[in-house]
């Protein structure tokens, strides 16, 4: 069975994680099926859908899980505009720059920063909470010009599988003290530790470049807020034009600066052309998503998982082979 926990404090998160056999993390209760949430593993997805729809689980898919809803962790814990540093709970919705539409009651991080003429320089497709966006670390439209989460994250507070609370990094924009755990957890999809808050470097709105993306023939405005990007691919710059031509009408969006394509598929297991050195992320994670990982990466990921989460409690199935 799946029970839902909405902790209000870091200690409550720690308690829930320590006590649970399996934890499934879910960041923001906006209900939008945006591109970030579309990339959750089948197991997480199933657990959450079953909870939402009160659908009883089939015996063979029975999992005893705790759904950890971190939506209450949406406060600004620290913000120094003059230092360009903000510390925010992972449940806060990021929002799109210059877009005041919010699906939930709390103000979006971008709005809070905009009051000080600052932003997180993420281009478009910003649906989801800060925690979800960091967990998945998918490409965005300003990546080549402004970097991404690993470049913006200065520190993080996290809960480990045994319920202990640890922080990494600092509030300084430049820091080489110790190992960069705050950067390492970006993109690990909460399978190493449960992030509760992050410290980020902000960007001046005045200096923000315009994204130089192009949209494909089947792009609609609906894509912006509720797109299901089933295939995200990054190639070498030298292969970008061929790759773009090769996906034809399946192209939803392309960013030449970072050589990234966002595409729709006719059916989930469809394969689009591949190029040397490229990588692809597809909807549905789990085993299907891990084809691009080298044996070395897989071995090291298993090792990391064995060290940080020996009972495979955190987001099991999120990475398929772990």
């Amino acid at each position: 069975m799946v029970t839902r926990v909405e902790p209000r404090s870091v200690d409550e998160v720690a308690e829930a994680v320590a006590a649970a056999k399996e934890i499934v993390c879910f960041g923001v209760g906006t209900g939008l099926a945006g591109p970030q949430t579309a990339f959750r593993s089948w197991k997480c997805d199933y657990a959450i859908r079953s909870l939402r729809n009160a659908v009883p689980l089939e015996p063979e898919t029975d999992i005893e899980a705790v759904e950890l809803d971190l939506g209450l962790f949406d406060q600004v814990l620290y913000y120094s505009p003059s230092d360009q540093v903000v510390q925010i709970g992972v449940g806060a919705e990021l929002g799109s720059i210059n877009d005041s539409v919010s699906a939930c009651d709390a103000p979006m991080l971008q709005n809070i920063l905009a009051e000080q003429n600052q932003c997180i320089p993420m281009g478009g497709l910003c649906v989801g909470s800060v925690g979800e966006l960091i967990a998945r670390n998918l490409p965005h439209a300003l990546q080549a010009q402004c970097g991404s989460w690993r470049d913006w994250i200065l520190g993080a507070t996290m809960v480990l599988a045994d319920g202990s609370i640890a922080k990494a990094g600092s509030k300084a924009v430049k820091n080489v003290a110790g190992y960069d755990l705050h950067k390492f957890v970006v993109g690990t999809r909460d399978a190493i530790a449960v992030l509760v808050d992050v410290t980020l470097r902000t960007f001046p709105l005045d200096a923000l470049p315009a994204p130089k993306t192009e949209t494909g023939p089947n792009w609609t405005d609906k894509n912006q807020s509720a797109a299901v990007f089933e295939w995200i691919q990054r190639t070498l710059p030298s292969d970008f034009n061929s790759a773009k031509a090769g996906v034809g009408s399946k192209l939803l969006m392309a960013d030449e600066h970072s050589s990234t394509l966002w595409c729709a598929l006719d059916e989930p297991s469809e394969q689009l052309p591949r190029y040397p050195g490229d990588w692809v992320v597809t909807n549905g994670c789990g085993n299907r998503d891990c084809g691009d990982l080298s044996p070395t990466q897989i071995r090291l990921m298993k090792r990391a998982k064995a060290i940080f989460d020996p009972t495979n409690k955190l987001n099991p199935g999120e990475w398929g082979f772990m």
Partner: protein
């Protein structure tokens, strides 16, 4: 299970070649420290491999014989990262200096870890590209060293630190296995182990090759040297520039102590009453005409802010030669202090930029309290300060005063919300200060990350994390002590 020096030299010689294994008192003395000279420790042998496979063979030998080993590039590190374990092996990258592949179209380059930072840019400058991280040591410090310490430099304010320019690495892990991580196309799915390795100070293995990102050279650059009558005016200017949303390519601050040294060393003169100099650089890599307008606009904003903060003189470099001259002064500033005293220790700390004025006042107080002289050089845009204490290291009391003053400054940095180190690294220098920033659980988190690669105690042992098990014993056996 001690190996004799003769056996070590013979066996390592058979893995590489006899002429690439150094030992004996002279060699051991030459390698007994890096640029952090207050701590010394003699290795037993130094090896000079010429390939990743040779590095792996040496590491495997060390594992079999349980001999500690330490990687070393140019030995310019300032926190003891290349300090050998007593009686261990130093694995030098001095013969791993090749550029293996240049891919201009994809703006990346593959080089061996022993190559000097500056040579990377030299190889592609004519094509309008460069390797952006520019530590002051860049004419000699190596790519491998820059990766180990996640090196910074004046231009990292706008262009990012080394971590943001490393796409992929080849490394030898502490077991002697060769690993390839990342590649030409960065950002793929999976855990980002490259971001753990960069900045790991040689404690997770030895990087032997790396794919680095190449960045377009700016098409327009403007630099200005601004003189202020008080340090506070200068530090306030820095805070105001950042708060205004301007991101200059570089923002470097020098105080009176540096100016006096520069005058003595190079005859450089500054306006009467100058207590602080701010070197500002603005650049753009857009098409030349657009770029010129962009940099002019940025520099104009900067000038206004300087004037608001009572700048007594603003000199803008009129051409490239003048601009180089301004930078020459900045980059040679620390060395120029050799005119003032026999020894210098360059400390390293970080604070939130808004705390710069307060921090600098504190630095002067501490120096006075300990009876030592100090000059200050800052990567002011990042809040990264380098108080340079100059003294005579033949007097142990002065050495002790300088170390204590440094510790007080670092404590203050943490108190103000910063970090114990902005770019020099933890090494041995700041190991026991990490608990100022990190709780036991925080340090345990880092130890777990270290364990992914290094579960033993012979790969650059007893560095970075404090209180590692068996380090107390190792420190007795393996570390020298300066006094």
């Amino acid at each position: 299970m001690a190996v004799s020096e003769a056996a070590m030299v013979r066996e390592l010689g058979s893995l590489l070649s006899d002429d690439r294994v150094l030992s004996g008192p002279a060699a051991q003395l030459a390698y007994d420290c890096d640029a952090y000279t207050v701590d010394r420790s003699k290795p037993m042998a130094i090896v000079l491999p010429e390939s990743t496979e040779e590095v792996a063979a040496v590491v495997k030998w060390c594992v079999t014989n349980q001999v500690p080993f330490t990687g070393r590039g140019a030995g310019t590190g300032l926190s003891g990262g290349a300090l050998p374990a007593l009686g261990g092996v130093v694995i030098s990258t001095k013969k791993l200096t090749k550029i293996l592949e240049i891919d201009l179209e994809n703006r990346c380059l593959l080089a061996e870890a022993g190559i000097a930072n500056r040579r990377l840019t030299d190889a592609v400058r004519a094509d309008g590209l460069h390797f952006a991280p520019d530590p002051s040591s860049q004419s000699v410090s190596t790519l491998g060293g820059n990766i180990a310490e996640n090196a910074g430099g004046p231009h990292t304010l706008k262009y990012g630190v080394t971590a943001q320019h490393i796409l992929g690495i080849t490394m030898v892990d502490p077991e002697g296995e060769i690993l390839h991580l990342g590649g030409k196309v960065a950002g793929g799915p999976g855990f980002d182990f490259v971001s753990l390795i960069v900045g790991s100070e040689g404690t997770l293995g030895l990087v032997t090759e790396a794919w680095v990102k190449l960045t377009p050279l700016p098409t327009s650059v403007e630099a200005a040297l601004v003189a202020f009558a008080t340090v506070r005016d200068a530090t306030q200017t820095v805070a105001d520039i950042i708060a205004a949303g301007v991101i200059p390519a570089a923002l470097e601050l020098m105080d009176r102590g540096i100016l006096v040294a520069l005058e003595a060393a190079f005859g450089l003169k500054y306006p009467e009453g100058t207590e602080a100099l701010l070197l500002v650089e603005c650049d753009s890599d857009a098409e030349p005409e657009l770029a010129q307008n962009a940099t002019a606009a940025e520099m104009s904003k900067v000038r206004t802010i300087c004037e608001t903060n009572h700048a007594i003189d603003i000199s803008v470099a009129q051409d490239e030669a003048e601009r180089q001259k301004l930078w020459h002064a900045r980059k040679k500033g620390v060395g120029a202090m050799g005119r003032l005293a026999p020894s210098i220790v360059t400390h390293d700390g970080v604070i939130p930029r808004s705390k710069l004025p307060e921090m600098l006042d504190f630095v002067y107080e501490v120096a006075e309290k300990h009876g030592v002289k100090v000059a200050n050089l800052f990567h002011a845009g990042d809040g990264n300060l380098h108080p340079c204490f100059y003294f005579d290291d033949r007097d142990p009391a002065q050495v002790e005063a300088v170390v204590e003053a440094g510790e007080e400054i670092v404590r203050k940095c943490v108190e103000l919300g910063g970090s114990v180190t902005g770019e020099h690294g933890v090494g041995v220098e700041k190991q026991d200060l990490l608990p100022l920033m990190f709780s036991p659980d925080d340090l345990r988190l880092q130890a777990m990350a270290k364990q992914i690669f290094n579960d033993g105690d012979i790969c650059n042992p007893c560095k970075v994390l404090p209180n590692q098990k068996s380090c107390v014993e190792h420190k007795k056996r393996w570390r020298g002590v300066a006094w």
